[in-house]
Amino acid sequence: MVKKKAALTILSEVFLLLATAILWIPIYYFFIGAFKTRTDIVNFPLAIKPSMITLDNFVYTFTKMKFFSALKNTGIITVVALVAIVVFASMAGFAIARIDRKLFKFIYSALITLMVIPFIGTVIPLVVQSVEIKTYNTLLGGILIQVGWNLPFAVFLYTGFMRGIPKEMEESAYIDGCSMYRMYAQIFLPLLAPVTATCLIRCGIGIWNDYLVSKSILNDAVTPTLMVTIHSFFGERRTEYGYAFAGIIAASLPIVMTFVSFQKYFIKGLVAGAVKG
């Protein structure tokens, strides 16, 4: 009986590992492909030998693809948007969680409802709007849209977190004459580290990986972002697989590194957004 059970466990584990291996074939393929020449990618797609390894693809990507200007643009958009999201969403979440009024409840429900709207459904008026307010083809335009579209989810996260903080703590502070502003800055902000980590990771990955906002609002050569640059570069040189693979690795590295270091917060954020949203 025990032996049979162990055999079954090992069998199911072998199946799982096999499925995992199949899942990882594309990743393995593009990862080793980035270090091979085009001929080797085509002729020996899944093999790698020390004699094949070359860094030419990376050199080409970094010099010819305008990689660093795209990296700078994506970096600026991501960092500025994240700072704005965290500051505004924590303020809004604080107000909604702590003031027991119909108006605030209504605003909260309205914001939650906005999480449903698909971005592509409003892309046409957004482009018209960005031309009108002169943010078309500027980083500011991209930042504003990212902040606006990420705020509902971020407010949802912060409100949920702050509702879990006991009220007694602030009541004593109010009795001592503490104002709402000081309360937010000195008592709440330090407590928010876990939810802020979740929010940064969840919104950060979306903004860094974004293609559609950049493609429609920043579609000029002046302010390309990473994903748009790689995409259009691949479109121009459809047959140079190695360049595309090298670009993909370089552009995805920051996200992968964050995932590896903060896996716990990552998974927590994903579950929080999905189960209650």
Partner: protein
Amino acid sequence: MADTNTRNDSIKGRNRKYISFERKRTIAGILFLIPTLILCGMFVVWPLITVIKYSFHSWNGLSATMDFVGLDNYKALPSTEGFFDMAKATTIYAFGTTTLIVIIGFIAALALDKKGRYRVNRGFMRALWFFPCLLSGAVVGIIWRIMYTYSNGVINTVLKSMDLTPVNWLETHGVTMIAIIVATVWSQVGMCIIIFMAGLQSIPGELYEAAAIDGANTGQRTRLITIPMMAPSITINVLTTSIMAFKMYELPFTISRGLPGYSTRLLTQRIYFYGFTAMDYGIGSALSVLLIVIITVISLIQLVILRKREDIY
């Protein structure tokens, strides 16, 4: 009597103080909300209202005047080029990705949930399965397009090495749809697994112990405990995955460009086409409203089902 009066007075007095304190708090709260309200109002609510407005007008985005045409754009939708192909493709794509992701995700989550001897570290395995979700849709599209290439893509190379006929993945009716569905499943299944695993961990272990004492085998335990207890997670995954599929733009577009013919042109691609290539904002906006309505309906279904379930338990 006198006592009650004084008490009333004191309550009133306290109330007055309380109100002014409350009012101060309300004003502060509104100030705290202003940045969020302005940004969401300008960049989410305003475009949402405008897209509905555009859908009742005829406009090419350039001319100074917009003509009000009532419901004409909506009436014209069925006669726009390839509308029914688009409807068919979008339905097949959404249905196919959702079914496959939920079934594969459920099985994988069950396998990944089991801990114990002879098993590889679960945190590590979960990370491996989640990994593709980290990549941008644009990037996933490029990788799979290269893999599907007819003459020198890795899939056909492997098929040839096994003496099988290579398939023209990107230019065969029906096959290309399967190709984009497989790529989407690959990139999105990790998200579904994470939600299923959270659901599995919330099932109390006592249920399984009790069932084991009563002599239930593994199959019975899965069928009678796991699946009913997982019903909320299944609902969430079915609905969020279908929303994801209706919204998906860059991944399928990068792989197939909507080809061959109209067979993989999804609703999102048609919105982009009318908005930025054909410059027909009226039709593009009518399609956008259609997409928003579809997604809102799915979300409402989700809300109703989950609420109902909360009432029962």
